[in-house]
């Protein structure tokens, strides 16, 4: 009995125990975190760790699969890289020429480049790496015939047809050059051994990639010693981790994060327009959008400025054509936007035979009912709701369906549809040949069904001539024609929102989004930077490099 009495449990004891346990847990977590959590973007003994949080999942080391990810971190480099004005510039190749028939390209390799394993960048290494790239799924559509070495420093690429966009395609992650030591005996990539300012250190699949600075990089050694790429799939969590200094940069935030980032002293928003659009794809082969007037009516009925202001936190801007003119010279500067004008829209619908009825217009007794399909990314559902409301003002009856990407893709390619709201990058390789994917009658991946002989002819010619002026003239004409025919209705461009630690300077975002260029970052405040963030906030010098940085602090 005595022992039992001693062992009995009182409620108070239970509570005490639980509280003690919780405090204990909290206590040990506090101490165990200290080293880790306060280390964000600060230099302790000249060791700087920088953590980037993104929604994307590192699930492969192979550049053919997740090359774009290692390219963004600048672990691997291709022969050609994208410049800040969305044009091409020399990467591992110091320059290139084409033969007279435009079928053979000669890329001269840059001198004095070595891989992270210390071996030099040789013609043989480049040829082996490129051959593997061009044999892969992701580059299967390029008309590359052969890759071979020519002498000490030149790599020759032959194409089956003249293909002017080749250098732009060579900026893509999967074409990055990796060393022989990247592979195991079976040819699987065990570590991407590249040439960039950061070198691969370790990874935890699905969670993070850790890279360290490359001390023998040919350019300036990065200020960051350890660069960690973390997958944080939830937008809100990414922002909270940045606020709590568990990240130093949080990418792909929503527009609503800007005010939070402005309110906190230790973080800042960086926003920049990218050549990425939200747009409507019309089924030009089935009623009602087989009629150009109906497509134009939509363009006049949608108030793009208002959509940007009301549902996108002012982050657009409203689109005129496929390319944003502030970002790339490939945009046709003479394009006339469709002004918001419901009266014109109504007139166009009447001209097309759609007569006003009670709420919904009718033609031959059939109501003007359309389906609008979209998927949940980049605020597309809410933009679609705004479009739905605006179209109903001029007599459309729009039913909005949010599906997943794959479903729309399959259905739009296999059955008649009306309208699809979509978003993607117009220049993920920096060449206007991207227009082929949108409006070529046969090679388009977008499903409008648009066919125009003149457009096809211009797109084909523009691939064959290498002179930039000649090409631009043709792409300008293509842009004018599709502006007139509207197989695709450009609504808004996309502005990226990135949150960064306030001590970071020198971050200049690349509009094509292909590389973060974190090797250019610097940190002011020196040691203990994040502890003295309020002091730093006052003497932060204005930095010309920051393009659209929100500096206003409430």
């Amino acid at each position: 009995m005595l022992t039992l009495r001693n062992r009995r449990l009182s409620r108070r004891d239970a509570l005490k125990g639980a509280t003690a346990g919780l405090i204990g847990l909290a206590g040990c977590s506090g101490t165990s975190q200290d080293g880790e959590r306060t280390s964000s973007s600060e230099q302790t003994e000249q060791e700087t760790t920088f953590r980037v949080g993104t929604p994307w999942n590192p699930d492969s080391l192979d550049p053919l699969v997740k090359g774009w990810m290692f390219r963004k971190l600048n672990v691997i480099e291709p022969l050609v890289i994208a410049d800040y004005n969305a044009s091409v510039k020399p990467g591992l190749a110091s320059g290139w020429t084409t033969s007279d028939d435009n079928l053979t390209w000669k890329f001269t390799l840059r001198e004095g480049v070595s891989f992270h394993d210390g071996t030099p960048l040789t013609v043989d290494a480049v040829v082996a790496s490129l051959r593997r790239s061009f044999n892969s799924d992701s580059l299967a559509s390029l008309p590359v015939e052969s890759v071979s070495g020519s002498g000490e420093r030149v790599v020759e690429i032959e194409t089956s047809t003249p293909f002017a966009p080749l250098p732009a395609h060579l900026t893509r992650g999967p074409t990055s050059i990796i060393a022989e030591s990247s592979y195991d005996d079976d040819g699987n990539v065990t570590a991407p051994v590249g040439t960039g300012p950061f070198q691969f250190d370790s990874w935890k699949p699905g969670e993070r990639i850790t890279t360290v600075s490359n001390p023998s990089y040919r350019g300036q050694t990065p200020a960051i010693d350890t660069l960690v790429y973390e997958s944080v799939p939830d937008d809100q969590t990414r922002l909270l981790k940045l606020e709590n200094a568990e990240l130093d940069m949080a990418r792909a935030l929503s527009g609503s994060a800007i005010s939070t980032l402005n309110d906190r002293p230790n973080v800042e928003p960086v926003t920049y327009a990218v050549p990425r659009s939200r747009y409507l794809v019309y089924d030009t082969t089935s009623p009602p959008f087989d009629d150009r007037n109906v497509r134009r009516a939509v363009m006049h009925a949608v108030d793009r400025e208002k959509i940007v202001d009301s549902v996108l936190n002012g982050l657009g801007p409203a689109a005129t054509g496929p390319f944003p003119s502030g970002v790339t010279n490939w945009a046709n500067a003479d394009l006339e936007p469709y002004p918001y004008d419901p009266q014109t829209a109504r007139q166009l619908l009447t001209d097309a035979g759609w007569e006003p009825s009670e709420d919904t217009r009718e033609r031959d007794g059939a109501p003007l009912e359309i389906d609008l399909w979209t998927y949940d990314a980049r605020a597309l559902p809410i933009v679609s709701e705004a479009v739905q409301a605006q179209l109903s003002q001029v007599g459309f009856d729009v039913s909005l369906q949010v599906m997943d990407y794959g479903t729309i893709e399959e259905r739009a390619n296999s059955e008649a549809f009306d309208l699809v709201m979509w978003s993607n990058s117009l220049l993920w390789y920096p060449d206007p040949d991207r227009l082929t994917d949108f409006v070529h009658s046969e090679n388009a991946t977008m499903f409008s069904g648009y066919a125009n002989d003149r457009v096809d002819e211009l797109l084909t010619e523009a691939r064959q001539v290498t002179d930039a002026e000649e090409r631009k003239r043709r792409y300008d004409e293509v842009q004018s024609i599709i502006q007139r025919d509207v197989p695709i209705g450009w609504l808004t461009y996309v502005t990226n929102v990135v949150g960064v630690d306030a001590d970071v300077t020198g971050y200049e975002p690349l509009p094509t989004e292909t590389c973060y260029h974190l090797e250019n970052l610097d940190f002011d405040g020196g040691e203990n930077a994040s502890q003295t963030e309020t002091a730093n906030a006052q003497h932060r010098s204005p930095d010309a490099l920051f393009r659209n940085r929100h500096r206003s602090k409430k």
């Binding site: 009995r8 449990l9 506090g30 699930d59 799924d137 939830d234 969590t237 994917d437 090679n443």
Partner: protein, 313 residues
């Protein structure tokens, strides 16, 4: 022994059924796995040639029964195949994520029971009292609060304001507390209500009256005599709550950045990554069947009167 064998045979049949069902459902879902995988890999729209090459390479042009048979034969041989989008083996992807999920499930279950049993007992001992009302109100709140909301709330209060725990991530014990509390609190509400009800029933039973009339102290009556008998249905529900853990884990794993089975499955479904969908559902099926088996075996320990058919003798 015969009982166990019988159970194992049913298990295999159940898993076969589960795999056929998932296989047909994924096959019926619109969306081309080739396109989805290539978009996931490259981050942009693939060209027609690329899609054709991919379909060819992964045998996606074969008719459905052939694909299922291929998969089933490989699986029986212990090979779950390779993910379409990451090109890793399904087994290694599961291997990377399973520990995170097991850790979270176990921790949240511990928290749920640690809250629920004392709260339920306290309510039952004095029904209608203040403790009872407080516990019932707490249970209502716990059941009603959506996981993601509680998750953010805990992050803001415990991580940002009080600075007790990190916001998200995985690794240390400190990373586990907030997600486990998030997931455990909802479960604890359900279990606490159940403990209260069964305790009330048991406390009315004649043997409890006997125990009291022997002059045993109330605490011994409650904890030694009543609680053990009241726990039988609780074990069942706690076992079934495992489905809740796996469901909730999808949200909690995303909010707290803990890559586990839940997020793996959801990502795979969106990417039409058939081998991964198949592998994970099969594993979840195995976990369910084994848990149910474990629950049945626990009964017999808690109440020796329960015979092998799982009914009181």
């Amino acid at each position: 022994m015969r009982y166990l064998l019988k159970r194992l045979v049913t298990t295999v049949l159940v898993l076969g059924g589960v795999s056929i069902l998932t296989f047909s459902m994924t096959a019926l879902t619109p969306g081309d796995p080739a396109v989805a995988a290539l978009v996931e890999q490259t981050g942009h729209q693939p060209s027609e040639e690329t899609v054709v090459a991919f379909r060819e390479q992964h045998g996606l042009n074969e008719p459905f029964p052939v694909r299922y048979a291929d998969w089933a034969i490989d699986t029986l041989g212990g090979d779950l195949g390779q993910s379409y989008s990451s090109e890793q083996t399904v087994a290694s992807m599961i291997g990377q994520r399973l520990p995170n999920t097991v850790e979270l499930a176990a921790a949240s279950m511990v928290i749920a029971i640690a809250i629920a049993v004392p709260a339920g007992v306290a309510s039952a001992v004095n029904p209608g009292g203040r403790v009872d009302y407080a516990a019932q109100f707490g249970a209502l709140v716990g059941v009603s609060m959506p996981n993601f909301w509680l998750g953010y709330l805990l992050i803001i209060v415990a991580a940002l304001w009080l600075d007790l725990f990190p916001v998200a991530g995985s690794g240390g014990l400190d990373h586990l507390v907030l997600p486990a509390v998030t997931l455990g609190s909802g479960m604890s509400a359900v279990i606490a209500r159940l403990v209260r009800t069964t305790m009330l029933d048991v406390l009315d039973a004649p043997y409890i009256r006997t125990a009291r009339s022997k002059g045993l102290r109330e605490r011994i009556v409650v904890y030694k005599h009543a609680l053990r008998n009241a726990l039988v249905p609780v074990v069942t529900i706690a076992g079934l709550q495992l489905s809740y853990v796996l469901n909730g884990a999808v949200v909690v794993e995303a909010v707290f950045q803990r890559p586990g089975l839940g997020t793996l499955l959801v990502d795979a479904i969106f990417a039409r990554d058939y081998p991964v969908i198949q592998g994970v559902t099969l594993l979840v099926g195995v976990i369910f069947v084994l848990t149910n088996l474990a629950v049945d075996l626990t009964y017999r320990y808690l109440d020796p009167r329960i015979d092998r058919r799982g009914e009181p003798a």
